[in-house]
Structures are given as C-alpha cells and as structure tokens.
Symmetry: C2
C-alpha cells in the first residue's frame, strides 16, 4: 500500500474528472428504463444508478440528472406515473449504451438502437423484450436534491418477470447466470464471476459460505 | 423468452422476499464506510448502496436503513459531519461482510472483524488500510425518504487515495484491476471481467470500443 497517492480533484480537466469521479462509487447496476408518454411515444434510456431502497414495500430508486438526455424519461414518468426497469445483459450492451445518445423527442430509442419493445399484462410502459429480468414500477415520489439539481425518483415494484430457473430456493435471483452486466465509470461493461455467497453475519460468529 | 414468468411479490415469505427484491436492482457496489464519534469510538460498516451523484461538485450518496445496525454510522456522521468510503476487494470480503453483524456500540468493527484502521492527512474518520481505493467525504445533506423511513446521505468527496497505475489517461479508474467486487442480492460477492469500454454515444453514429 506504500504507493497510494492523493489525487487532487480540483486540478483535473472536466472530462478527466467525469471519468475519475464516476469510477469512485464502485460497480454500478445496468438497467434500461422504459417509459411512454400520454401521446403514446415510447422511450428507453440506460441508467447506472438504480438502487434497492426497501423490501416491504418493494422500492427502487434512481438518479435523474438535470438537463440531460434522459429528461424524456422524466416527462413520461410524470405523465403516466409508471415505468419499467429492465436488466441489461451482455447480449445487448451496445444497444443499451446507445440509448444514452441525445435522440430528439420524436425518435424512439427502441427503434433507433435495435431493442424490441414488449407490452405485458396491460402495463402501459414498454419493456425491453431482450431483457431476461424486468419489472413494472409505479411512481411513488420524486425528491429534489438541491445541492446539484438532480432528482431521486422512487417507485414501487408491482410485477416482476424472470425465468423461474434462475431463482434459488431462498429467493435469491442468480443474475450472473443470465449474463447481467455491471458498469464501472461511465462506459465500461463487465461480466461477473461469483466468489461466494456468505451467511448472515452475527457478532462473534464465523461466517460460512452458503 | 417464452419461459418468463410473473413473480407474485405479495405471497412471498419475508426472508424469501428480502432475497428476491434485493436481487432486482442488478449488481451493487461494495464499500465500507468508516466513521468516528466525537468521543473517538470508530465504526466500520459495509454498504451496497453507494451511488455516484455528481461530478462537479464530486458527490456520492448512500441509503441508511431505519433501525438497523448501521445507525452507529449515522450517529457518528451526525456528530462529525464526515466519513470515509473504502472500496472492498476480493482479499477482504469476509471481513467486510462481517461488519454487517450487530455489534454493540462500544465494540469497534475494525478490531472485531480484522480490518486495519488507517488515519490519513489529519482526516478524523478512519480509512480501511486494506482498501486500495478510498476517499474522504464531507457530509452535505441528509434527506429523509418518508415512504419507508430510510435516509439518503449525501457527501462531497474531498480527497481520493489510490494507486496511480490504475488510473487510465482519460481519468477512468480500472477498479477491476485491483479486484474490487460487486454484490448481488444481500450476500453474493463477485469478481468482474471487462467486456469492453464503449465510446460516447451519439445519435445515428456507430459505437466504437475505446
């Protein structure tokens, strides 16, 4: 550890700093958020900030940046109060990444990048047909984060679609087995290799591999 | 995709549901948050919710659950307005996971689990000596999320410590090269294998591997 160095954030160029700071949080989730406007225009956008917020109720959150391309996503969610979250797997990372381009409002990312829409169980927002783990989400709250004008979007999961065979008997879903990717930085995509699952930790008790 | 099935969240047992819902967001970051109380009691706790919030200023956030073991972390942050974030690598996942046990307030997780404290540049909160990418964070805001009584803790990154050789020339940090792990579900730890980095996406333009 003798060669650890302090990196000075203040002297970095903007692009360098963007890559650098985006690497600090560790590996990120890779999900496409699918939405639809009241007029029926569909939208798909990749997000790396989807986070587990709670189990009962089942809540997820993600961060919406200010003035970014994903504002179509926000407008649609505000109109319909719903969206889909679709895990990205290795088979469609290029299409998923391409959804981050600044398409105009009347261009549908699904068609532009080659993702197939799917509509399930009368849910209005579109799912990504290619995604092997996806769910319907009902908007619960949009919390403004004033310090940098981002928004925390919170939704409740109302229906989950995945293959039965990837669910372990304790409810854990083996997302590695379907090739779900992790992101680092802004643009690096990674497959994973499980080291182990570990048992519930208790004080003064040894962990076991479960 | 013909065998995708809807999973009914309402009929699951609590433990099954906890494992299931925790798997839905995708891969999560693995970080130990280090804190110290005004009285000098140090604390370390693993979190899987550390998220990039912004680049200028450099902000990170994480979710604090209500009434959970990590409340010592919260109390310390409220007292000192600072904390450290330390990426977890494969060489100390057992110790990192063990910090989630409900130790009493006067037990220091560092000593209990076998992590070594390190104090750098007069920052009061302790770093994890073993961690190869770690940073000092100054509390900016604690936002209550009323729907499930969690808290969003937001901090600004003030100093970053890592090996120079893992930083690419564009600022991207190769966290895979230091064995940083990703988490899935509550308790599964994963190494990663880079597929590719992809160029900045523009409409109607092909992506290249960078």
């Amino acid at each position: 550890m003798a060669d650890l160095h302090q990196q000075d954030l203040t002297t970095m160029s903007q692009q360098y700093r963007t890559n650098f700071v985006n690497s600090l949080s560790g590996f990120k989730s890779a999900n496409i958020i699918g939405t639809i406007s009241n007029a029926g225009q569909t939208n798909a956008a990749i997000f790396s900030s989807v986070t587990h917020l709670g189990t009962s109720p089942a809540l997820v959150s993600f961060i919406m940046r200010p003035h970014s391309v994903e504002r179509h996503t926000l407008e649609n969610i505000e109109q319909t109060n719903q969206f889909t979250i679709n895990q990205v797997d290795a088979s469609f990372i290029k299409a998923a990444h391409q959804t981050s381009a600044r398409y105009s409002k009347d261009e549908c990312e699904f068609a532009q990048v080659g993702l197939k829409k799917s509509f399930i169980d009368n849910f209005k927002a579109p799912f990504v047909a290619q995604s092997q783990l996806k769910y319907a989400v009902k908007l619960q709250e949009i919390i403004p984060i004033n310090i940098n004008r981002t928004l925390l979007i919170i939704g409740e999961i109302t229906a989950v679609y995945c293959h039965n065979h990837i669910i372990d008997k304790d409810g854990y879903i083996d997302i590695e087995s379907i090739g779900t990717v992790a992101i680092s930085g802004l643009d690096s995509y990674h497959l994973t290799q499980r080291i182990t699952r570990l048992s519930y930790a208790k004080p003064h008790t040894s962990l076991i591999r479960s």
